[in-house]
Amino acid sequence: MAILAKENTAGASSPPRRLGLAGRGEARAGFLFALPWMVGLTVFTIIPLLLTFYIAQTKFQIVGPPKYVGLANYAAMWIDPAMWTSARNTMFFAVVSVPIKLVIALGLALLLNRVTALSGFYRTVFYLPFLMPAVAGSIVFMLLLTPDAGPVNIALKALGFSPPDWLLDPKAALWTIILLSLWPLGVETLVFLGGLQNIPQDVSEAADLDSPRGWHKLVWITIPLISPMILFNLVIGIIYSFQVFTQALVVGGTTGKPAEATLMYMVVLYRAAFRYFNVGYAAAMATVLFVGVLLLTLLIFRTARSWVHYEGDSR
């Protein structure tokens, strides 16, 4: 169509439209169809993003005008022990929960990647937790992990372990939130499963012939072939785990009970803005989160060049 668009000259405005106008008409329509979204993107994302960086440099308590204070909020963050505790907890949470989640999801996907009478049932079961509202899921886990009467500890005791008090022991409480975040892994599993099902049959069979050991095939064939899905799950997982909020608030409240063990970065940010009304400080925290997540994402994409294999890529 673009080639034909060159011959738009006189007479093009007459009602049965010439091809010449199609390109231009299409371009105008394209712009108009996207216009509401472009307005939305500007008003609700781009401008607020810039404003956040401005508010971060002010003392702003919702009532009254913001007062410019330069980098004072960042300096306050630097000496705020709660901020450091929460940053440490959040990083620990992200670094531990995301890899564990991906490994379990990949394992489940490998197990699901065969046709049996119950395949549909298994897939449904693994996807269901994703539909559970996070608040409801967190409350249920608190009950499941009750020290004496919860089924988890009863099972662990029956197996001869001495399980911790998941909700009151500061050493164990963060693991409660990690466990909680591992439950809804249906999306990751189905993404991996989609990748596995795209592996050509002949590649898979050739690998079976080459090496009788299953794990050789896994390491040298399967994982490289689904590396784009690993990258996808990893990036999304990291971005979201740094923003963990709901589970942490339900389990630990705004103080990260017990003993700030479950205090997460977003919870500190939330209480700064909406409990202490220190919006400037909260904005500073938001910008640090943004830059941190951005750098981490870029870092992952950078290393990805060496381990992600795209089909049709001749390198």
Binding site: Y127, V135, M266, A286, F290
Partner: protein, 285 residues
Amino acid sequence: MTAVPTRRTPPRKTVQTVIYHAAMLLIAGIFLLPFYWMTISAFKNNAEIFARPVTWFPDPIRWSNIAELFHRDDFPFLIQFGNSVFYAGSVALAVCFSCSLAAYSFGCLRWRWRDLVFGLTVCALLLPGIVTFLPVYLGWSRLGLNGTYWPLITPFLFGDAFFIFMLRQFYMGIPRELLDAARLDGASEFRIWWQIALPQVWTALVIVGLFAVVYTWNEFFNPLIYLQDREDFPLSVGLFTFQANRAREWSISMAGAFLTALPMVVLFLLTQRLFRQGLASSSLK
């Protein structure tokens, strides 16, 4: 129960199949345990929930928990249920309308800044929500609309990065010849969208609507901050507030959690095929 082949198959294969299904059923059991525990606890009283030895089935089944849930002043369940339905329904409708416009533009039409704008959309998708949240919040409070559903629904009238991304995948499946043929016939661009493109993606619209309902039903952060009155909360915030204030009343909390999760589980079981289709399209092109 397990699909043990009845035909004569090599014994080794049969053993493998049995082990496979035994392992899978065990894992499935672990994944279902929280649902099961929530459900049985919703029909026990507190003493029964914490009783040892564990009772795996409530006896008696305490339907009164549900009845109590419907009559409590500190947890107006039915009102909050209605709020959730309103909230999720409005967002789903808004998203279906606004995203079908933008996604059509990105997926089917060629214009100058398209790739740039779509690139920004993908960036917006990965942006941590909090980094744009505070100025928007301050804006709504200047307008005096905090405490209403306006801040929660209005943004979706303009579109949502995730759902635009998802719908675009479906629009991209429409052959260009189809649209060009209509252009040759002199159809207006609006008519081409309305009469030709849109009917091709209506299943996708249902999928987007379903995903929007689930996301909104489970949404917590935004309503927690924008709404103040118990009578205005959706279920997610209502349940949180109740649990935070009445930590001891586990049976009512569980009944609330059960009835909050139930509609989504039922919705999913009824529309599974669509969900899976949506998921496949949204993950990777």
